[in-house]
């Protein structure tokens, strides 16, 4: 790629940052500029073009107590947490990019049992979105987070979630129509803490989401549920990592998607079980339906197991729609397109129901319109 963000971009995007935040970002600038873009085999990044960055993208935030991450000052708990980035993600380049060139982002802390944050960003007016958000779920509290990223030309986001002992976190990511998007999410999950994370994905061109759960305390649990649909020549190239590091941890990776036209999906699920994580129960399942002879689905489930007192499994299926089901519906008077739409709706239904019960009908409707917006 000819053009990359540089020191000028850094100055521009740091204009409204606190000196401390700017200094933290500056300490990583060299590493960013000397790190090259990855040459991925499955998602071609040759077409990637970086847009000019805006000084301060407008975030629409629903949360009374959220603090702008760029205004963080010395000795605040928030700044210290924000600095402890793991630098893991789909690629270090994109993680560094979100950290060094963000001109926006929030720090949000759970409040009691009904914390709720919604961040809405993108839409047609916004060309690029570079964010670094940090969420802290305090001991025994609950937080719900919605991230809506829509129709931007370039997205590079790092979301970090720290869930303390017994905390409960629910996340709903809706990412649709962004031309290029690289999202990295890291969950640090303490003992008896619980994470339930949904992602609804519909790429504009290339969407490469990454999510990692570090199950660090006894009894920690995480569920990743990813539902996607892609059309045209777009690609959704995702990776979910469940890293079990303590006893009695629970993990679940679920993927389901529908592909139209010459769209492509890559679904990677890594389950890693460290020695000593006894009585861990973990599993992965992915199911992709192809609705066009040109579509392509890759599935790369991986199990890395160092402990034998565990239950670990994965299952995958890729195929066409159940033809018998379609014919049945057509004999009932539906035309083929309506029948297909109905069957596809059936694939997404369980996830949409879950989203409805956790985030309410408003967000269920948004998720549904993203997934079923395109008629076959």
């Amino acid at each position: 790629m000819e053009h990359d963000f540089n020191v000028e971009t850094f100055e521009k995007t740091s204009r409204y940052s606190s000196p401390q935040w700017k200094a933290y970002k500056a300490s990583l600038l060299d590493e960013y500029t000397t790190t090259g873009f990855p040459a991925w085999r499955r998602s071609k990044l040759a077409r990637l073009e970086l847009p000019p960055l805006e000084e301060e993208p407008q975030l629409e935030i629903e949360h009374a107590g959220a603090v702008s991450i760029t205004k963080l000052e010395e000795s605040s708990e928030a700044l210290e947490l924000a600095k402890k980035t793991e630098f893991e993600g789909s690629d270090k380049k994109f993680v560094l990019q979100s950290v060094v060139f963000n001109s926006s982002g929030i720090f949000a802390v759970s409040e009691g049992n009904d914390g709720f944050v919604a961040i809405k960003v993108g839409k047609k007016t916004q060309k690029s979105v570079l964010l670094h958000n940090v969420f802290l779920v305090r001991k025994g509290s609950r937080l719900k987070v919605v991230n809506l990223l829509e129709s931007a030309s370039y997205v590079s986001v790092l979301n970090r979630y720290i869930v303390e002992e017994g905390g409960e976190l629910s996340v709903l990511n809706i990412r649709m129509g962004n031309t290029f998007s690289f999202t990295n999410e890291i969950y640090r999950v303490a003992s008896s803490a619980k994470v339930n994370s949904y992602s609804i994905d519909k790429p504009g061109d290339v969407h490469a989401p990454f999510a990692l759960s570090l199950l660090e305390g006894r009894g920690a649990s995480t569920r990743f549920n990813n539902t996607f649909t892609a059309s045209g020549s777009s690609i959704v190239d995702s990776m979910y990592v469940m890293r079990h590091r303590a006893a009695e941890t629970h993990g679940k990776i679920e993927g389901s998607g529908v592909l139209f036209d010459s769209a492509r999906s890559v679904f990677r699920g890594n389950i890693e079980i460290a020695k000593g994580s006894i009585n861990t129960e973990t599993g992965e399942s992915v199911n992709v339906v192809l609705l066009s002879p040109q579509a392509r689905a890759d599935s790369i489930p991986a199990l890395f197991v160092e402990e034998n007192e565990v239950t670990a499994s994965h299952a995958a299926s890729v195929g066409a729609l159940n033809e018998e089901g379609l014919y049945y519906l057509m004999t009932r008077g539906l035309d083929e397109n309506s029948a297909i739409r109905l069957v596809v709706r059936g694939i997404f239904e369980p996830t949409l129901q879950d989203i409805g019960s956790e985030f309410g009908s408003r967000w269920q409707e948004v998720a549904e319109s993203v997934l079923t917006g395109k008629s076959p």
Partner: protein, 463 residues
């Protein structure tokens, strides 16, 4: 194929090992000419070897799988030189290997051949009668060197056409220094009544290390081939880089059975590929017990409509072993089908890694495939990893995959102990049950040996 071989994707690989590029000192055109001359090869084979040598010298080590940085290619030349006296004594053979022979009940003369210290195994008597029967059917079953001399045109047409030397570094090395192996040609419509055993073709220098097996099954023919044996095989040169090429022509059926038990100092970097034409059937049955490190991914390229392949395997990774294996099923024609059932056991700190690829091409409409991986971990010192890559490029395919990793539960053990078995017997019974579907695909004498081998391995890992 080159592209498929390089699983260097950003997440496909977890093992992050630093490799250095190494070439073998002294391995140059001179030694290659010497080998070729001693085998009285035609000019084209010499040229082929020299071309492979060139490719080998430009290749890097694989960037995934096992760490081969300790593999010493330095003594390869001394081993290859045909006129060098390789006589060693029985006393040089490690104690554990000699013990294993004893326990497996391998006859004295055979032991010496297997350990590389005896004269050529006197299989001639047994082989003669089989040979006559095969000749009457028009089947050619020869050691590879003789085939090159006796059927130069036939061999030239197929030799390393399925596996090109550019596939990977050890395929190129193999092409340069290959020695021994079998050539099997089954004419149209002929059904070979008994399994052919590669065992009879041992004996030429280096044949244990770089043997080349080429099987051509003409239209409508059927043949089974058995490679290796359950007895441990010991060699001073600790590299095995053999190659198997199989061509299954329309409607033909080939079954290839392997029992691999290389001694535990061996790097087993082997290549096996079958091309299956219209309505042909390829069956792989594989048991891997030996070697220190293995990288082996038998591939079936289903290039004719209606072709099918199956891969049944059992891998046992014990103390000090890292076995990185798996099947590749490449569907490139309509209505093809494949089944993979891969089972592994890791014990005593061993590491079993299943790395597979299932590729359904755009043209392979109406294809069906399933991949099943199961791993049994006998303790928490061992590792079991599973990485089955699945690529589906059309909407008229039916693909399923499942994997499971587990252990022997205490309840199962207690149940069997309550029925009067000792704990060791109970474990052995459960492990045998896990192996059963593979064992029953083997000829009876191999199944018996396999059971003995399992008992032996369990004894050393559980103690």
């Amino acid at each position: 194929m080159t592209d498929l071989e390089k699983n260097e994707d950003r997440f496909d690989i977890k093992v992050n090992v630093k490799y250095r590029k190494r070439t073998a000192p002294g391995l140059g055109p001179a030694i290659i000419r010497e080998i070729s001359e001693s085998k009285e090869e035609p000019e084209w084979m010499l040229e082929h070897r020299l071309k492979c040598l060139e490719i080998f010298q430009t290749w890097h080590d694989p960037r995934f799988g096992v760490d081969v940085s300790d593999l010493d290619l330095g003594n390869i030349v001394a081993y290859l030189r045909p006129d060098v006296d390789k006589a060693r004594s029985w006393e040089d053979v490690p104690e554990e290997i000699r013990e294993a022979f004893e326990k497996l009940g391998i006859p004295e003369a055979e032991r010496k051949v297997l350990a590389g210290v005896g004269a050529q195994y006197d299989s001639e008597a047994v082989y003669q009668s089989i040979k006559r029967e095969l000749e009457s059917l028009g089947v050619i079953f020869l050691d590879m060197e003789s085939a090159v001399r006796q059927y130069p045109e036939l061999v030239k047409e197929y030799f390393m056409q399925i596996v090109k030397p550019t596939l990977h570094k050890y395929a190129a090395l193999h092409g340069a220094v290959w020695s021994g192996g079998s050539f099997v040609y089954v004419p149209r419509g002929v059904k070979v009544p008994l399994p052919l055993q590669g065992y009879f073709m041992m004996g030429s220098p280096g044949s244990g290390q770089f043997e080349h097996t080429l099987i051509i099954a003409e239209e409508g023919s059927e043949v089974s081939y058995i490679e290796g044996c359950s007895a441990p095989r010991y060699n001073v040169l600790n590299l095995h880089a053999g190659m198997v090429e199989i061509l299954v022509k329309p409607g033909a059926k080939v079954k290839y059975v392997t029992i691999q038990n290389w001694s535990k100092n061996t790097y087993n970097l082997n290549t096996k590929v079958a091309v299956v034409e219209e309505d042909g059937t390829m069956e792989w049955v594989s048991g891997s017990f030996g070697s220190m490190k293995t990288m082996l991914y038998p591939a079936s390229i289903l290039k004719g409509a209606g072709a099918s392949a199956s891969f049944l395997s059992i891998t046992y990774a014990g103390k000090g072993q890292h076995l990185d294996t798996g099947a590749k099923m490449i569907h490139t024609a309509p209505n093809t089908s494949s089944v993979v059932d891969a089972r592994s056991i890791s014990a005593g700190g061993g590491w079993a890694f299943y790395r597979g690829l299932l590729h359904i091409a755009r043209e392979a409409r109406g294809s069906k495939a399933s991949v099943r991986c199961s791993s049994l971990m006998l303790d928490n010192e061992s590792r079991a990893d599973t990485l089955p890559i699945i690529e589906v490029l059309n909407d008229k395919a039916d693909v399923g995959h499942e994997a499971r990793i587990g252990r022997i539960s205490e309840e199962q053990i207690y149940y069997l102990m309550a029925r009067g078995l000792s704990e060791a017997q109970a474990r052995e019974l459960i492990v045998r049950g896990f192996f059963e579907p593979i064992a029953k695909e083997l000829p009876i004498e191999y199944a018996v040996e396999l059971n003995r081998l399992i008992a032996l391995e369990l004894e050393s890992s559980i103690g």
